[in-house]
Symmetry: C2
Subunit: 344 residues, 2 copies
C-alpha cells in the first residue's frame, strides 16, 4: 500500500458561525477548538509522512493568505488556487488531474472536527485499500443522533473492511432520521472520500464530461508559481459547478463506504461548536473576558469586550468586532440568515 | 396655598442598571425612557411655576457637570453640592435649612419614572395641604405586585385627603408582600416626601440632633457660587449618615401618607426598565442597531455594536462601551454584584 494523498478542500462561506466566521476569514482558519485552527488540525491529521504524502490544498484566492500562513508548518504542502468557486466536483477534479492516476486521494473538508484521530486514520487506510481496487469510497460516520442537517449513506453488501453503497439519501426529516438511526444501516455522509485519482477522473468524465473536460483543460494550461498552482481561469469558468455527491458519488456504480465512529462534527453552527468544546462543571464554555453567574451549558466568547451573563441556559453569546450575537442553541441554525451574516 | 418647593435628590450608585449606568454617569442622567433623562423628567414634572417654585437640586460634586448641563433648561434651578455622600436625611436637611421655615418641600428622587404626571401633581398638592398643617407626608404608591424590593407603608386613620401612617414596614418576603397586597392598607414607600422645611428640621433636631446640628452649621458656614451652594465640608463630614426613613419618618408621630396610583417605577433593574418601556408587537424593546429573530419580551440596547439575537424570551441584552450584559429578567436583580458593576 503506497502513501495516501491528502486533498484538503478550503471552501465554506463563513455564515453559520458568524460573527466569528466571516467571508474574509471563514471557519477553517479560526482556532475554534483549542489552539489550532480547523484547517491546521486537518493538516495535522495527515502529517504522518509514513502514511500520507504531502497534502494538496484547494482554496480560493481570497483565502490564499490564510492558507499559506497556516500551512507553513507543514512542509511540502502544495496549493491549488481555484480561479472561482465551482463546488466540490470541480475542486477535487483540479487535484485529481494534477496527481498520478494511481495516487489514492483522501478528500477532506478543512472545517470539520475529529476527536478520535486513530479511528480516522484506520478508516482512511481501509478505504484506501478499497480505493486501490477501483472503488470510490465515502467514510460513513456512525450517527449519534437523528440529525436532519446531514445526508445519509445506506450501506449494501459487505466489501472488504467496508460495504457497497446501496443509496445516498438526501437530508431527511426528523422522523425519517430517527428511523435511520434505529435501522442501523445508515451513516452520515461527512464529505470525506477516498479514491484513485484516475478512477475519479474517469467517473467524472463519464457522468459529467462538462466538468471533467474544462478541469483537464484548466490544469493543462495552468501556471505553477512555486508550490502554488493556478489553473487557467477561462476554461474553469465554463463549468456549471456541482457537488461531488451529486456529480459522481450518487451516479457511479463503484461507490463504497467504510463506517467509522471517530467523534466527528462538522461544527455546523454554534450549537455544534458548544457540544464539541469541553465544558466546566456547569457545562459552560467561556473564552475571553467572561463572567457567568447562574449559567448552565452556555457558550460565551469574546474577542475583546467583557461578557457578563446571569441566569442563562443553553445560550450562545459571541462578541466579535462590532457584532454581538445572542442565540438559543435551537436558534443557532438560523444564524446564517441574520442580516449581519448574510450581507457580509 | 403657596408654591411647593421641589427638592431633587441626585444620589444613586449606578450599579443596578450597569453597564449603561456607571459610577461617573449614573441612572438619573441617562435617557432610559424616551428622549429625556430621568433627572430631566423629574425637573419637568415640577416645571409648572404656578404650582412649583424653582427646584433645589442636591447632588454630589462628581455629578455636578451632568446636573448643570441637564438642569440648564430649567431656569432658576439652584444646586446644593454635597461635600460627601451622607444619605438622604442629611441631603434633605441641606435643602430644608436653606429654605424658609414655611416653605413646603416636595422631596423627589431623580431616578424614578412616573407615567401619570397629573396624578402625581394632584397627590403632591394634597400632601402639601397636610404638610402645611405640620404633617410629614409620604406619597404612598398603590402597589401593583407583591414586590419584595420596596419598603411598605401601612396607613392608619383618615386625615384630609390622606391617612396617618400606622407603620413603615421593612422590605417584606414574598408571602408577606402578597398579604399586604390582599390587605389593601399597604402602599409602597417610593421615597417621595412632602413637609414644611421647618417641620423637617424640628423633627430631625428632635430625633437626630447629631445630623441636624452639623447640617445647620454646614449651611451657615457654606459658600454661594452663583446658583450653586457649597456647604462647609468639615461640619458635614462629622455626620453619620442615615436615610430620611430611618432618621425621621419612622420616628416622628407626625407621619402621614397620601395614596397615589401614578404608574410609578423606581426602574430598579433591567427587568423594571423593560416593563416601563413600550414594546413592539412581540413585546420586544430594541434601541440602537438591533436585529431580533423569534424573540419575545426581549430588551436589547446598544450604544454602538450591532446586536443580533435569535429565539430569546424575557432576556435583556445591553451593550455599552466595552461591556456586554446578557441576563434573564429574574437574574436582573443580581447585576449590581457582577464584577463589572461592583468594581467600577
Amino acid at each position: 500500500m503506497g502513501l495516501i494523498y491528502p486533498v484538503i478542500l478550503c471552501g465554506g462561506s463563513g455564515t453559520r458561525l458568524w460573527p466569528s466566521s466571516r467571508k474574509d476569514k471563514p471557519k477553517p482558519f479560526l482556532p475554534l477548538i483549542g489552539e489550532r485552527t480547523l484547517f491546521e488540525a486537518t493538516l495535522a491529521r495527515t502529517a504522518d509522512r509514513t502514511r500520507f504524502a504531502e497534502p494538496v490544498i484547494v482554496a480560493g484566492a481570497a483565502h490564499l493568505g490564510h492558507v499559506r500562513a497556516q500551512a507553513a508548518g507543514f512542509a511540502g504542502s502544495r496549493i491549488i488556487v481555484e480561479p472561482m468557486a465551482q463546488n466540490t466536483a470541480a475542486a477535487i477534479g483540479l487535484a485529481a488531474a494534477r496527481l498520478p492516476e494511481d495516487a489514492v486521494m483522501l478528500v477532506c473538508p478543512s472545517d470539520h472536527h475529529i476527536a478520535d484521530v486513530p479511528a480516522f486514520t484506520a478508516a482512511a487506510a481501509e478505504a484506501a485499500t478499497l480505493a486501490a481496487q477501483g472503488w470510490l469510497v465515502a467514510l460513513g460516520i456512525t450517527p449519534t443522533a437523528p440529525e436532519t442537517g446531514f445526508g445519509y449513506i445506506r450501506r449494501g453488501e459487505r466489501l472488504g473492511a467496508g460495504y457497497t453503497v446501496e443509496q445516498f439519501v438526501e437530508k431527511p426529516d426528523f422522523v425519517t432520521a430517527s428511523g435511520f438511526l434505529a435501522d442501523g444501516r445508515y451513516s452520515w455522509n461527512g464529505g470525506i472520500f477516498v479514491f484513485r485519482a484516475g478512477t475519479y477522473m474517469e467517473e467524472l468524465a463519464h457522468h459529467r464530461p462538462d466538468i471533467a473536460d474544462p478541469v483537464r483543460e484548466a490544469v493543462a494550461q495552468g501556471a505553477d508559481e512555486g508550490a502554488i498552482f493556478h489553473p487557467e481561469p477561462s476554461a474553469f469558468g465554463r463549468i456549471a459547478g456541482q457537488s461531488v455527491d451529486y456529480a459522481v458519488m450518487e451516479k457511479t456504480d463503484r461507490a463504497a463506504m467504510v463506517p467509522v465512529a471517530m467523534g466527528w462534527s462538522d461544527i455546523g453552527n454554534w450549537h455544534a461548536l458548544r457540544d464539541v468544546r469541553k465544558g466546566d462543571g456547569e457545562g459552560n464554555r467561556a473564552a475571553g473576558r467572561v463572567e457567568l453567574v447562574d449559567c448552565r451549558n452556555v457558550l460565551a466568547q469574546s474577542d475583546g469586550p467583557r461578557i457578563s451573563a446571569i441566569g442563562l441556559q443553553d445560550i450562545a453569546i459571541v462578541v466579535d468586532g462590532d457584532e454581538v450575537l445572542v442565540t438559543t442553541m435551537d436558534g443557532a441554525q438560523k444564524v446564517g440568515k441574520l442580516s449581519g451574516a448574510a450581507n457580509q
